[in-house]
Amino acid sequence: MRRRALRASFTLPALSAALALTLILAGALVFFLPYLTRLRPALAGVPAPAPLVSIAEFTVPPGRAACMSTVAIDADASLVEFSLKPGPHAKAGGPPVEVTLSAPGYHASTTVPGGYPGGLATMPITPPRQSVIGSVCFRNVGHSSVVLEGSNEPRTISRSSLVVAGNPVVGDVALTFGERRETSLLAQAGEVFGHISNLTEGLLPVWLIWVIAALAAFAIPMGIVAAFYVALRDLPSGDGVTA
């Protein structure tokens, strides 16, 4: 009796379904888990992306500023990233540049010290208490001009408008906000789901996105394996279903 029950549980349908489930589980452990738990720098927003093909250069003379408006500054934005280089006549590296972020009820600033050769600047900032729409200004506080890098390609221009030394200019300074701490995708899930919810205008609240994610992660594999098992089990014997 016991032997028969044991034999029944080792039928081809059960073994095949178990194989599928094991492979999915193994794949999830080998590929998904490290991807989801690996620490990585976290983005807090990209008001203006870098160009795809050609870099646009925005030269800011000494004492003048380049300002971008309608920039979203998120509550977890604790780093600001942009590219700059010394102007053509700079002798001892680039001039200092003061970066000011402002919005109703929020003000923060940071300064890139002078003397840099050029490249990507990643500066710490104090984030707002809640996400705000404001402006970001790059003021040249040195004695030589500075070149801010960005884009004037139609493909990569964002909504922000740019004014350099008081003149409206087509294009954007490429600007990214980041977080100081490194974080895993798994730890960031709530934040990511918040972004998704905002881009459905709240049609999907964050809790519902959690439910959908959980359903996708578990019900898709289980549904396929169950369908396969049911189809194999319903075959009449003699169709090669018993091992």
Binding site: S16, A17, A20, L23, I24, A28, F32, Y35, A42, L43, G45, V46, A48, P49, A50, L52, T70, A72, D74, Q130, S131, I133, R155, T156, R159, T176, L185, E191, V192, G194, H195, I196, N198, L199, T200, E201, G202, L203, L204, I209, A213, L215, A216, A217, A219, I220, P221, G223, I224, A226, A227, F228, V230, A231, L232, D234, L235, D239, G240, A243
Partner: protein
């Protein structure tokens, strides 16, 4: 015995007639095989997950397809492919601009305006949009060259949910769009049932492989006419197979022709269904040898259906009426430098194989089998910028090669039984060959016309043949020795699940993390 069998079904039919529509629908769903219901649930979940992972307008040409739906639904008129003040409405333009969704398209470093402050900012803009802001995307919209069937169908849910804010409306429209994906899965299940004699595990493999094909599932969450084209091409194949397997009747000929005509009224690529339908009818005549009167009647049905559809389209389906078919694409495609048959054949050869000594280099960039049949067929999401790691494509290429060898071996070893099914084989081959030759022809003409810069075709253009993909896998695996088939099928389905979940995951991370 026969009465015993019939009684419950007639009792059930009476019960169904008496029941309300909800009970009837529930009863019909209950009558579906459990395995199919499970696969459809998997398909629905995938479509929903892709919809969540993909921000608005981030599928291929989704902005232009949505603009077509919106203009048609709002005004009852077709947009123009060549003239007009704006290809998209003010409402769509503002969403693309102020939510940074335009600069997001295809740019990996970009992110949408995702914060709650962005949402408040956008909602303020939405409130101040002037009346008619959703109805002024008259053109020039390049997608307006497409015939109107898909857009006319999608304008129904659009009208139903027209009062919703834009991003919510797009999400809901995508859910309706996903019905094409579910229909495709169910159709492949049915075809597999017809071909494999109701061996359900092979049906699960065929329909499951289709449901888990990442590019197809991704497209189910994109407002794009390809979704209806895929479902209609699959339905045409089913109708054509039934015609050659069960015999040509007026009803079957009419069904097949209506589906083929609907596919051609959905997209120019749907025209390949017409030669498939013609092939099926000829094969059915050869096999069943109907009388001259029946042949004449069926021919009249085919000519009437296809001709009627073409006339209706040319009269009412082009902007302004009486315009050129497919926005003049057919004429434009064939008006470039002269067609060189030898060069065309050489370009097809070099698409699949390395160039032979003495052969002239292929026209256009290094673009061939790997890019179309592997990379962009299995998964290139967003505007092609979201991809798997290169080693995943390498594994898929090897697996595909093994699959092709396996299919060939199965074909050879089961040749006798396949020969008995020759009408079905010819119909399926006609779909494969017409599609592939059509795509190569379009690509070659495009390369001639654009100086070899853009080969035009990508893997999603193969998706109307997705049924053949699922059926080939099921046939190959089903031809293995009895104790080996199900375990190999388990490996295929497990790989499909992992690939599918990976696609959804990397897309969500690309846009939202």
């Amino acid at each position: 015995m026969a009465t015993d069998v019939r009684r419950p079904s007639s009792r059930r039919a009476r019960r169904l007639r008496r029941a309300g529509p909800i009970s009837r629908a529930r009863s019909r769903i209950g009558a579906l095989p459990r395995a199919l219901i499970l696969i459809l649930i998997v398909g629905a979940l995938q479509a929903l997950a892709w919809n969540v992972a993909l921000p608005a307008f981030q599928g291929p040409d989704e902005d232009a397809h949505f603009a077509y739906v919106q203009y048609l639904a709002e005004t009852g008129k077709l947009p123009s492919p060549s003239v007009g003040d704006s290809p998209v409405s003010t409402e769509e333009h503002d969403a693309l601009t102020y939510l940074n969704l335009f600069s997001l398209r295809g740019v990996l470093a970009a992110r949408p305006a995702w914060s709650s402050a962005d949402l408040r900012y956008w909602q303020q803009i939405e409130k101040t949009l002037p009346p008619g802001a959703a109805a002024n995307g008259a053109g020039a919209n390049p997608i307006a060259k497409d015939p109107p069937l898909y857009y006319a169908i999608m304008s129904i849910p659009y009208r139903m949910f027209a009062s919703l804010p834009l991003l919510k409306r797009i999400f809901v429209l995508r859910l309706f769009n996903a019905l094409c994906f579910l229909a495709t899965i169910a159709l492949v299940w049915t075809i597999a049932g017809d071909l494999f004699g109701g061996t359900q595990w092979k049906q699960v493999v065929a329909a499951g492989a289709v449901a888990l094909e990442p590019q197809l599932a991704f497209m189910s969450a994109v407002i794009n006419a390809d979704n209806l084209l895929i479902a209609l091409t699959t339905a045409t194949l089913l109708a054509a197979l039934r015609l050659v397997m069960r015999g040509p009747s007026v009803g079957r000929v009419l069904t097949m022709c209506l589906l083929a005509a609907a596919a051609a009224l959905t997209h120019g690529r749907g025209l390949v269904n017409v030669p498939v339908a013609v092939t099926a009818l000829v094969v059915a005549w050869i096999r069943f040898r109907p009388g001259v009167r029946q042949v004449a009647g069926q021919l009249a049905v085919m000519a009437g259906t296809l001709g009627g559809a073409a006339s209706l389209y040319l009269l009412f389906g082009t902007p302004g009426g009486g315009g050129a078919a497919y926005g003049g694409q057919v004429g434009a495609l064939n008006s470039g430098p002269p067609f060189n048959f030898r060069q065309f054949l050489s370009s097809i050869y070099q698409f699949y194989f390395p160039r032979l000594p003495g052969m002239r280099p292929r026209l256009g960039p290094a673009y061939g089998y790997r890019q179309v049949f592997i990379e962009t067929f299995f998964g290139a999401f967003g505007w092609l910028e979201v991809t798997f790691k290169p080693r995943v494509y390498a594994v898929l290429e090897v697996a595909s090669a093994i699959g092709i060898v396996g299919l060939y071996t199965a074909f050879v070893t089961r040749f006798r039984s396949i020969r008995r099914q020759w009408p079905a084989v010819i119909v399926m081959l006609s779909l494969l060959v017409t599609n592939i030759v059509f795509l190569h022809y379009v690509s070659y003409r495009a390369l001639l016309g654009n100086g070899g810069t853009n080969p035009l075709i990508v893997g999603r253009y193969l998706l109307p043949m997705i049924s053949l993909f699922g059926l080939a896998i099921a046939f190959t695996v089903g031809s293995l020795p009895r104790r080996l088939g199900p375990p190999v099928a388990a490996v295929v389905l497990a790989a499909g699940v992992l690939l599918s979940l990976t696609g959804i995951g990397i897309t969500a991370v690309r846009f939202y993390a």
